[in-house]
């Protein structure tokens, strides 16, 4: 039984341009699923649709999102918001902008526990201290009182990770959580997310464009192109040899650490044309179903 179950999800802009094309996707309890694709493939859109933070111009136009067997679209906006706040959390992309600059760090970790889940302030603060230690922050009591601008990017991402795990959510959506960091810090943060995920048994939807990262963290993988699921498979099968030509090309395009001087292999035009044709055929089929 999967914790998150997305079925035939369509998201479009107000002018009808599709952002997601009948996306179906499952994340089982405790599973780490990577969501990969090029920029603009719609991988972040899926997470945003689940969290209810789609940009104003984008709307869910079809399909369903089920959380623990409950269809989110049937809930009132308030109930939906609180359900998400209690069970799902986001590790954002850019730690430098994801903390409120005019508030101290501590309340930004405890606020969800106190305001949404009704914890006592002292309990929430004890929990925050515990979590900050868990993400290897020294002098957590001092960090709680600090303002975000007093901390480094790596520290801030650690705080955001601690904050994401605060309410023991069943699912965490990590939206390219290492992209904005230095390469050396990236590795530590990735390790930390993996470590926390395993300790807490949280399901993780890991959005990334970096296949190198995927191999280190995920058990299963969904490849997206132009808002359409191209391939869905487990990690071993994928790295052994993806079934879709686009996935194969994507894997071949990943730089190899074993061969740093090797030239990069871009995804060939023929593959792009083939996958574009597939999308066009899919859209034509959609038109047919709408007419029928």
């Amino acid at each position: 039984m999967s914790f998150l179950s997305i079925r035939d999800l369509n998201v479009s802009l107000a002018n009808g341009a599709p952002l997601l094309r009948r996306v179906s996707l499952d994340v089982a309890a405790g599973e780490v699923r990577a969501l990969v694709g090029e920029s603009g493939a719609g991988k972040s859109m899926i997470g945003k649709a689940v969290l209810g933070i789609l940009p104003r111009a984008a709307k869910v136009t079809g399909g369903s999102i089920q959380l623990d067997g409950e269809d989110l679209e049937t809930l009132s906006p308030k109930a939906r918001r609180q359900r998400i706040g209690a069970r799902v959390a986001l590790i954002p992309q850019d730690p430098l902008t994801a903390l409120n600059p005019s508030r101290r760090v501590g309340p930004q970790i405890t606020d969800r526990l106190v305001d949404i889940l009704g914890w006592k302030r002292a309990e929430a603060e004890a929990r925050a201290l515990e979590l900050l230690e868990e993400v290897h922050i020294q002098a957590p009591d001092r960090v709680m009182k600090a303002y975000p601008h007093e901390l480094s990017g790596g520290m801030r991402q650690r705080i955001l990770i601690a904050s994401a795990f605060a309410a023991e959510p069943k699912l965490i959506i990590a939206d390219e959580p290492t992209t904005a960091l230095d390469v050396t810090v990236q590795k530590q943060i990735l390790k930390l997310i993996r470590e926390m995920q395993q300790r807490h048994g949280t399901a993780l939807l890991f959005v990334t464009h970096d296949l190198g990262v995927v191999s280190k963290i995920a058990q299963s993988l969904t490849v997206l192109y132009a808002g359409k699921v191209i391939e869905e498979t487990d990690i071993k099968a994928f790295f052994a040899g993806p079934s879709h030509a686009y996935s194969r090309a994507l894997l071949a395009a990943t730089p190899k650490y074993t061969d740093p001087d090797g030239s990069l292999t871009p995804v060939p035009d023929s593959v792009i044309q083939a996958v574009e044709a597939e999308i066009a055929a899919f859209d034509a089929g959609q038109m047919g179903t709408v007419r029928a």
Binding site: I53, G85, P92, T97, L99, N100, R112, H149
Partner: protein, 336 residues
């Protein structure tokens, strides 16, 4: 240590600003045509009469000499005698200042409340007809100057639908004895709510006239800053935590969006104090601005100088308060 140094620097700049204002007003009112002597003498006065009066008031000396005498007295706390009212300038100015302060502060509070509430509401309902309506109202409020709002208010709330008093500061019929010139403050402190009501009924229209254009400016800037903040990542993160739109706007966006508005309010508040000159005249409100107009008409040189100095002092104080609030609200400036 740092704070002490900052304060001393601030004090010196304030003194320099005041000296500059003093020099400018002193020179300007002596260079423009017209002089107090001409206002005092009956038609057909002889040149000898004029010279005698000039000597009496020291106006036969050079501007530099006159300035030196005046500034020497000012430093000792002596602002001279009003030529027309024949009372010490200091007493006159201090007597009228509370009336103007109360009016300006009431106007500021109204403007912040109206402008702030409108900006928050427009942000909450952005992209809807409510935002459009607020924008239109803001545009109208901004397109008329304060004194035209004053006239419009007199017409609507004073004549067509006479809810408020159109002139004066307090009804003499109340027979209330004030111990200070801060009427509103005193009445509030002494819990005399019928007096408070009467004072408000006098002050509300002039305060509104001053507040409406400022409210519109606050609305526009604050709304713009809020809108920009609403795209920030920490807002998105707060949404995923389960917070409602209104609590996100108040708790996360407002503290970050308010800083530019605060600076603007500081600058605009000094303009508002300047605006009291005409508004007090329009509503026959017994404040400093009303007295300033009489002083200028009568070429009452010492009185004009005294009033301008007080206004200049007020402006520098307002700027000081704004800077301090700014540092208090923005953690990134606090340790700098």
């Amino acid at each position: 240590m740092q704070i002490a140094r900052a304060l001393i620097t601030r004090l010196i700049t304030t003194l320099v600003t005041l000296l500059g204002a003093a020099v400018i007003v002193f020179v300007v009112i002596r260079v423009v045509p017209g002089n107090p002597i001409a206002m005092m003498l009956p038609p057909g006065a002889t040149d000898a009469d004029i010279d005698r009066l000039k000597a009496l008031y020291g106006l036969d000396k050079s501007i530099l000499e006159q300035f030196w005498i005046w500034i020497g007295n000012v430093v000792q706390g002596d602002f001279g005698m009003s030529i027309t009212l024949r009372q010490p300038v200091y007493d006159l100015v201090i007597g009228r200042l509370p009336a103007t302060l109360e009016l300006s502060i009431l106007a500021l509070l109204i403007a912040v409340f109206l402008g702030g509430a409108a900006a928050l509401t427009a942000t909450l309902y952005r992209g809807t007809k409510i935002e459009g309506g607020i924008d239109v109202a803001g545009g109208v409020a901004l397109s008329l100057p304060d004194f035209l709002w004053g006239l419009a208010l007199i017409l609507v709330l004073g004549v067509l639908w006479p809810l408020f008093h159109i002139s004066g500061r307090v009804s003499p019929s109340l027979g209330f004895e004030f111990g200070s010139n801060f009427y509103l403050f005193e009445a509030l402190a002494r819990l005399q709510f019928n007096v408070v009501g009467d004072l408000i009924a006098h002050m509300l229209m002039p305060a509104l006239a001053l507040a409406i254009p400022l409210a519109a400016i606050i609305l526009q800037l604050l709304k713009q800053s809020l809108k920009e903040c609403m795209h920030d990542d920490y807002i998105t993160l707060a949404r995923t935590k389960g917070y409602s739109e209104s609590s996100i706007i108040l708790r996360d966006a407002l503290p970050n969006a308010i800083l530019p508005t605060l600076t603007l309010i500081g600058v605009q508040f000094t303009f508002l104090i300047g605006g009291t000159v005409i508004i007090e005249r329009l509503f026959s409100y017994e404040g400093l601005g009303n007295m300033a107009i009489d002083a200028v008409i009568n070429r009452d040189l010492p009185l004009i100088q005294g009033i301008v100095l007080v206004f200049a002092l007020l402006f520098t104080l307002v700027n000081l308060v704004v800077d301090m609030t700014y540092a208090a609200l923005n953690p990134r400036l606090r340790h700098a």
